[in-house]
């Protein structure tokens, strides 16, 4: 027997009360709604819930004494009788297998893209008509101007920090002048290429992904395909080439500013005269340091651009996926940079030493 109103406010209490008294076997449940004057969607849902429990346990639910207002509401709301089966939650090993398989296919797709773009890029250099020079210059100057300030500032500060840190140790041995060599070598071999690549991944790698993903979502890439305009030539190659040429330039800037940071620490904090500091820097650096640093930065750049493209064209669905792809792209680019850097360290310090 119900009375009053069955609305969202009272539905929980009703549901709890009625559930306790539900029959556990076949039979009839009769709900007398004579006293019920109003009902809303929440109240209706609790009634349907009771009906479903009955369906599974084998008792029939009957409503009696329905008021017209309540009946009108019950006619208003619609439900499906046969519920779709719930989405299967895969087991642990199933998920593990699925993600391993996903990783393998992703790697395969990435390899195909990387090969396409790299071969296309090399061909474009020899078939100048194929190369979109205007697009390349626009991309390159955009990347350069986007990263210039932040790369300069951060690597200057890193140079300062490196110098302070090494001075703290070296001064104990009266070897403060070696701050110059240490800072220079760390900047040129490690910090310059690494920090520049990480900053560029965040700044320009992400914008490659968001741009390409937006193109994908807006069917622009499909449109290119039906217009016979190759995506690789038109979009991918100029971006990769711009990245591969700008990042080494930015790395050189980073090297210089890092050394400048160290120099300032040397002059102000360690009282080393400017000229000997510079002399020590030049003596410490050999061409090989510069070459390995720049070689690394080219590889980093290639990876950042391709990872950016890969995440962009892999987007499925609507605009909300663009943001997710962008984040994923930055994370994988930084992961790539760090892993590649450690591989280089092993090659340069162990294998080639």
């Amino acid at each position: 027997m119900l009375s009053g109103e069955l609305t969202a406010a009272g539905a929980a209490a009703f549901a709890a009360g009625v559930r306790k008294r539900l029959p556990t076997h076949r039979g009839h449940l009769i709900l007398d709604l004579t006293g019920l004057t109003a009902i809303d969607s929440a109240g209706t849902a609790t009634l349907v819930d009771v009906w479903r429990i009955g369906k599974s346990r084998g008792f029939a639910t009957e409503l009696v004494g329905i008021q017209p207002a309540v009946q009108a509401e019950l006619e208003q709301f619609r439900v499906t009788v046969e519920l779709p089966p719930p989405a299967a939650i895969p087991g642990f090993f199933e998920s593990l297998g699925a993600s391993a398989w996903q990783a393998v296919t992703a790697l395969g797709q990435f390899t195909v893209l990387a090969a396409d773009v790299t071969i296309g890029g090399i061909q474009s250099l020899f078939i100048p008509r194929r190369m979109r020079w205007a697009t390349y210059f626009r991309e390159a100057s955009l990347m350069g101007s986007q990263a210039f300030g932040i790369v300069g500032l951060i690597t200057f500060l890193i140079g300062l920090t490196l110098a302070f840190q090494s001075a703290y140790q070296l001064r104990q041995f009266g070897a403060a002048i070696y701050v110059a060599s240490l800072t220079a070598i760390s900047m040129v071999r490690e910090m310059g290429p690494l920090i520049t690549a990480i900053l560029v991944a965040g700044r320009s790698g992400s914008s490659i992904t968001s741009e390409v993903a937006t193109m994908k979502v807006g069917e622009e890439i499909d449109a290119m395909q039906v217009m016979g305009i190759p995506f690789v030539d038109f979009v991918a190659v100029p971006k990769v080439l711009a990245m591969v040429t700008m990042v080494p330039l930015l790395t050189m800037l980073a090297d210089l500013l890092g050394i400048l940071g160290g120099w300032i620490v040397g002059m102000v904090y360690l009282d080393i005269a400017p000229k000997p500091y510079l002399q020590k820097t030049i003596d410490a650096l050999v061409t090989k340091d510069l070459v390995t640093g720049l070689f690394k930065s080219v590889v980093f750049a290639w990876g950042i651009a391709l990872i950016g493209l890969y995440h962009g064209i892999g987007v499925r669905g609507g605009a909300q996926e663009v943001g997710k792809a962008t984040t994923a792209s930055v994370v994988s680019a930084i992961f790539f940079i760090i892993v590649a850097d450690s591989v280089f360290s092993i090659i340069f310090y162990v294998v080639m030493a």
Partner: protein
Amino acid sequence: MSAPQPVLQVRKMIVRYGAKTILNGVDMTVNQGEIRVILGGSGSGKSTLLKGILGLTDVAGGEVTLLGQKMRGLGEKPLGALMQRIGVLFQNGALFGSLTVGENVALPMREHRRLPEGAIAELVRMKLAQVDLSHAENLYPSELSGGMRKRAGLARALALDPEVLFCDEPSAGLDPLTSAELDSLILSLRDHLKMTVVIVTHELASIEAIADSLLMVGGGKVIAEGPMQEVRSRGIVAVDEFFARKTKSMERQDTSVAELFGLKPAERGA
């Protein structure tokens, strides 16, 4: 008059996304110079059919013959040449955001036609005038309304004077007046340029105004195909419901809560 020439033939097209089969053996034949409308409920696979024809989605089976050439196994060069003979208007125009409207229209001309810049500029203005967008030549896509974007996309699709034009929902989201203008433009393309047009659309007014023939898809299959009047007179339930604007009811599997409890409908006005 010779027998109608098929311009586009689709045989047993099958498209799957994961475990879901979206198209399960679809056949379609479109003749030269006709306006073919593809109908079907939302999510029935109309856009997928278009993408399958254009090679924009992986097809699990079937064969497409476009302008007398089998698409599958066509080399890069001949496929490119074939694609230059068709135009595609995508659902939202698919304009390149980094180019102005004029540059968007000029792009396929620059890529595929060796014309002097002056002639290209002239051509671009002609195409834009055709869709009544002359004033928007130097605007960027982000500065356009939805309807303008579609018209710009149409101008670009017409850039190379295609023999077949494909459109996905050209009038969705347009006001009735603009939609009617688009319809009369499509009609004039057929009448004056003998263009074949394949259109996906929901708009009843538009269908009544332009369709020569219909293809209705549902449940991954073709429900009906043929000349407009003939298909409508066959008394196929799904077709009749569509034209009575009742497509929704096909998918309805729900009941009212009152029916669930076996209540008799209350007398109206009681």
